[in-house]
């Protein structure tokens, strides 16, 4: 049902606006209101994805519209988890704009359900894409938290302690959540690559075909290997880790959008 998607998009937009307002003047009321809007959007979004699954007969990730929609769904899911677990003030103000933009790009992409290539029909679709998308969502969240870290760090270093400083969480907390998210995203991405290879083997006869998506996933994977290694070995925590998580997410975004839109391959939904 198309209307569900549009409604979810509208709610995310409203949540984004309230989230931005919250950056400048916050109260308990705006905070609750933002969560309420996001929550309503999420429920509608979930229903939209479910209805499309029934229509298509498989997880709706087989064209760009569906994939971006599912991607932002995963981010919101993770947002609620982090919010519930850590109660990070203002997280929504940093994350919801990203969610809204991804949803917006999804809304302008062609929506017709394309019949799936029969050789790709298998449970691997479900396993592989869910792992990949949850991994990407963790990286998105880590980037949002990283950005918050950089903002807060800027305040502390420049000794400019305004009202935003008071409402953002502590540096240590942001750094810890950033690390946890990357430690969550990395194994998910690794498993996504492995399951992708297994799927390719069963469907196409070889594990690795140097498809652009595969190449860029590998590049992204190496970036996060570096992020984790630098943190554990070199003590690259705090600012450096925050910047790296933004770099990593840029690679994720390119793998996601760039490869599909600019380069061709069997991931590109082009027959």
């Amino acid at each position: 049902m198309v209307i569900l998607f549009e409604l979810a998009l509208t709610f995310y937009f409203a949540a984004t606006v309230v989230g931005i307002v919250e950056l400048f003047r916050s109260s308990k009321a705006t905070e609750t209101f933002m969560l309420l809007l996001t929550g309503s959007g999420f429920i509608l979004h979930t229903l939209s994805i479910l209805s499309r699954s029934f229509e298509a007969g498989h997880l709706p990730v087989t064209n760009m519209h569906e994939a971006t929609s599912f991607f932002s769904w995963c981010i919101v899911l993770l947002f609620f988890y982090i919010e519930y677990r850590y109660r990070v003030g203002l997280l929504g103000s940093f994350i919801m704009p990203v969610v809204f933009l991804i949803m917006l790009s999804s809304s302008v992409l062609p929506r017709e359900i394309t019949p799936m290539n029969p050789i790709l029909r298998s449970y691997w679709l479900w396993v592989h894409t869910t792992l990949a998308f949850l991994g990407d969502a963790s990286f998105a969240m880590a980037a949002g938290i990283g950005l918050m870290y950089l903002v807060q760090e800027h305040f502390v270093k420049k000794k400019h302690l305004g009202s935003l400083f008071h409402r953002l969480p502590s540096l240590q907390m942001l750094d810890e959540i950033n690390y946890r998210l990357i430690s969550l995203g990395f194994p998910l991405l690794t498993l996504a690559i492995i399951t992708g290879a297994l799927w390719a083997e069963s469907a196409l006869g070889s594990y690795w075909r140097w498809d652009p998506k595969e190449v860029w996933s590998l590049i992204t994977w190496f970036i996060y290997v570096f992020v984790l290694h630098a943190r554990l070995r070199q003590g690259w925590r705090g600012r450096k880790a925050a910047i790296l998580s933004l770099v990593g997410f840029a690679a994720v975004l390119f793998t996601f959008f760039g490869v599909n839109l600019l380069l061709k391959g069997y991931h590109a939904f082009v027959k």
Partner: protein, 431 residues
């Protein structure tokens, strides 16, 4: 209705005068009783803090009683009235209500937004209440003042930011580290301001405390006092490898820690964050250290700037608080006016009239087949009963007597004439 505030504070009187007028120890009960005994004073509360002495009174006639209160103050403290007058201020009615609300909300304090004053106001009120010196209007006024202060506290950020250097340091530490209880701390040198900051840190959870001083004996003394351990001064750099918060306040004429040394230390710390507060003048820590990743250095001027901008922030919040106070003053005034007898009499009569009509209608419905004369007779009798019952209270309410406010409140309560606003007030009374 006559509320009178007589007082002096840090703005109108120097400490030499304030201390002479303070109601401390035994003076408070004696003063309250003497003030209550002054002719024309219906109720009184005495607020005496180091920054202000204020008498909140409900009086029969402000202009007359004002002079008596000044005389009481002078006689009680054995001063000359003329010496006193210059420092005193007086507020009546609306201005008095506003003043009391502002005092309780910490808008009249030396440090705007400081939290102690509300407690002091509460104590002063409760003490006067326990000695039965207050009046109904004063009770209501003080309860309202306390709830206004709470409203100001929750709806503005007036008390949010630190306005002293040592609190600013703690506030920063909490934004760098999540939990101070698993962080280690070292004090280099000594000094009063440093000690204050250390105490704030400890009361905010820091447990692992070390002290280094050029005089080892002094370090041991201070460490015992703070519940920490002493470190020989030569070893402090080594200690920094495992220390998260540093306060430096030595009398050294030069830097005792340079950027390159800190860079090495950070490697050994695996880049774990460190917060350094240098409150020594001249500075003891190379300012360039702040450029290192995960090192946050604040000197005394930085902290002072934080404090200054916080004070500015508080002023802005204070403006919002003033609006809230104005709102509440207007509300309270409405309540005061409602204590005036006329609306109460009208309300009482209206209620009686409503009941009479409703009951008459029911009765006449049941009594079928009576003629007009009979009906008039019934109506007349019921009206007479109602009027006769209402006559004495009406007369009493109209009389100009000392306890009229109490009577009005009693009539309202007994006949259930409370308006919407009253409900919230009753809730406060129960609190």
């Amino acid at each position: 209705m006559n509320i009178l505030v007589t007082g002096l504070n840090h703005k109108t009187a120097p400490v030499e005068v304030r201390e002479k007028l303070a109601f401390d120890g035994e003076k408070l009960p004696e003063g309250l009783d003497a003030l209550k005994g002054t002719p024309g004073v219906r109720g009184c509360i005495i607020l005496s803090t180091c920054n202000r002495v204020e008498l909140y009174t409900e009086v029969s006639e402000a202009d007359v009683v004002k002079g008596r209160i000044v005389r009481f103050l002078a006689e009680f403290h054995q001063l000359r009235e003329d010496d006193l007058r210059g420092s005193l201020y007086f507020y009546t009615d609306r201005d008095a209500v506003r003043h009391i609300f502002r005092v309780a909300s910490s808008l009249d304090s030396m440090v705007v937004g400081e939290p102690q004053i509300l407690g002091q106001v509460k104590d002063a009120f409760e003490y006067a209440l326990s000695r039965k010196c207050t009046s109904m209007v004063l009770n209501k006024l003080m309860k309202k003042a306390i709830s206004v202060a709470k409203r100001v506290r929750t709806e503005t950020r007036i008390a949010e930011n630190a306005v002293s250097i040592s609190y600013a340091a703690v506030e920063l530490a909490k934004k760098i580290f999540t939990d101070l209880s698993d962080k280690s701390f070292i004090l280099l040198g000594a000094g009063e301001m440093a000690e204050l900051a250390v105490r704030h840190l400890i009361s905010n959870g820091v447990r692992d405390v070390a002290v280094a001083n050029r005089t080892y004996q002094r370090a041991v003394e201070l460490a015992t006092e703070l519940g920490g351990r002493a470190v020989p001064f030569e070893d402090f750099k080594e200690a920094l490898v495992n220390t998260d918060i540093v306060i430096c306040s030595t009398g050294a004429p030069t830097y005792i820690l340079y950027k390159d040394e800190m860079k090495e230390l950070m490697k050994r710390r695996k880049q774990k964050s460190v917060f350094i507060i240098d409150i020594s003048v001249p500075r003891n820590i190379d300012p360039a250290i702040n450029d290192l990743d995960n090192v946050y250095l604040y000197d005394v001027d930085d902290l002072q700037e934080v404090v200054d901008s916080n004070i500015l922030e508080r002023r802005k919040e204070a403006e919002r608080a003033e609006t809230i106070v104005e709102e509440e003053v207007a509300k309270f005034e409405r309540w005061l006016n409602s204590l005036d007898a006329v609306p109460t009499i009208v309300a009482l009569r209206q209620k009686a009239e409503e009941i009479k009509r409703a009951e008459l209608r029911r009765l006449l419905n049941r009594l079928q087949g009576i003629d007009d004369r009979q009906r008039q007779l019934i109506e007349y009798t019921i009206s007479a009963v109602v009027n006769k019952l209402l006559h004495p209270p009406t007369v009493a309410l109209k009389e100009d007597r000392e306890d009229r406010d109490i009577l009005i409140a009693a009539v309202k309560a007994l006949y259930g004439l409370e308006e919407g606003d009253e409900e919230t007030d009753n809730r406060h009374k129960r609190e």
